[in-house]
Amino acid sequence: MNIFAILILAVGTYAFRFAGPLLRARLAKAHGGSAELPPRLTELLSTAATVLLVALIATAALTDGGGFAGIALPAGVLTGGLLAWRKAPFVVVVVAAAVVAAGLRVLGVP
């Protein structure tokens, strides 16, 4: 590891982050110059974010380093998901997921 690697990663990551809002402004300009995007495009973009988040959740919950994540992790996430579905408070969801995953690991479940 050296400072150049850190800087390249930092600049590249920031570029990804900054490009989103910038592109959105360009898109708005292309659609007649108003600050708002057409509703259909807005819907598409926010659906895209939800799709990415769900894919992130699925891969984080079920896979680990390209392979199957085991039992404890998906069980914890599933518990949290069920609680969220039953309208449990956010804190309860997060803590329950952690407790179930950690508890199963203490019991020797992978």
């Binding site: 973009l45 895209a48 894919a55 914890g76 997060v94 952690a98």
Partner: protein, 322 residues
């Protein structure tokens, strides 16, 4: 935050903002509207103090207190041109946050921040244990501020992998921030400064939390509150972890690897009530999961975007009689 101090001129304008009675929505709207012609008529050769106060009034004019203005608070480009821009900006953000956030929302975000702090500690500890110099984990946490990619570079380097491969892999993992920013759009604010700073605070958690809000003003407050809180605790955690080293255990032992997906799931669940969104997300997740064994980390999540095909209008040819 030392940045909030600014210059003496910035302090002046900050004072003028607070004495003009911003919290009272009706009165501040009225006064701004009445003041508008006078302000427009004033020339560029005004005394500096006058132009400063004009700028602060501009910021107020576009503030969320005025119902007719589309911008929830003063983040237009011209409001933030010179020395007082940053302090004005921070004041406006803080005001908006305290006005808008409910106690339960604050509690939820602090819970998320607590988990982020613990993972930050483990990052600091693991990074130092992997042989990084003391300043490197903090440099990564300040400048990159993307947990997954930070763990990734440290992990690849510790495993003897090439530095270039580690950086490329981490950048691939972070590429999702582009579509996130595209979707988040104006939630962070439209001004140059809001975009410049807000972009760095764009993380999975701040995106998920902000996009789960219905009101734009609340979404903005949530984005900034969680973004700045996460940045602070992630960096404090990194320092503590790097200093404490081996004392910090594996965060997986506490089940934190389950806590994050579960928290994000709770945030996206309401938007999955929409059938089209749900179908797109399920198809995307299936694509991401099936490609994960074969592709570098980060790419499967991006590939999930093919799930958006379900949003396309159905071609009329496929009218199969029942």
């Amino acid at each position: 935050m030392s940045l909030a101090k600014g210059t003496s001129s910035a302090t002046d304008s900050a004072h003028s903002v607070s004495t003009l009675g911003l919290p009272l929505a009706a009165s501040s709207c009225d006064s701004v509207d009445l003041a508008m012609p006078a302000r427009l008529a004033s020339s560029d050769s005004d005394r500096p103090a006058r132009s400063r106060s004009r700028r602060s009034e501009n910021a107020m004019a576009s503030s969320g207190a005025c119902a007719m203005n589309p911008l929830p608070f003063g983040l237009s480009d011209r409001s933030f041109d010179l020395t007082n821009s940053l302090s004005l900006f921070i004041i406006e953000v803080m005001r908006s946050i305290w006005r808008t956030l409910t106690p339960s929302l604050q509690r939820d975000m602090l819970a998320m921040a607590g988990a982020i702090a613990v993972v930050g500690m483990s990052f600091g500890a693991i990074a130092v244990a992997s042989g990084l110099d003391w300043w490197m984990p903090s440099a990564l946490s300040v400048l990159v501020f993307a947990g997954g990619s930070q763990f990734m570079v440290v992990g690849i380097v510790a495993a003897g992998g090439g530095l270039a491969a580690a950086v490329v892999g981490a950048l691939l993992l972070n590429a999702r921030h582009l579509p996130f920013g595209l979707a988040l759009g104006d939630i962070m604010g439209r001004g140059k400064l809001a975009r410049a700073i807000g972009s760095h605070l764009l993380i999975d958690e701040s995106v998920a939390f902000a996009m789960a809000q219905k009101e734009p003003a609340r979404a903005r407050a949530v984005f900034w509150f969680l973004g700045t809180t996460a940045f602070v605790v992630w960096n404090l955690g990194t320092i503590v972890g790097a200093a404490a080293g081996q004392v910090i255990g594996d965060p997986d032992a506490f089940g934190l690897d389950a806590a994050f997906p579960a928290g994000l799931l709770a945030l996206v669940l309401p938007s999955l009530k929409n059938a089209r969104t749900r179908n797109a997300a399920l198809l995307g997740a299936a694509v991401a999961l099936t490609t994960t064994p074969f592709l570098p980390a980060g790419v499967p999540v991006l590939l999930a975007l093919v799930g958006l095909v379900v949003l396309l209008p159905a071609p009329k040819k496929v009218e199969v009689p029942a």
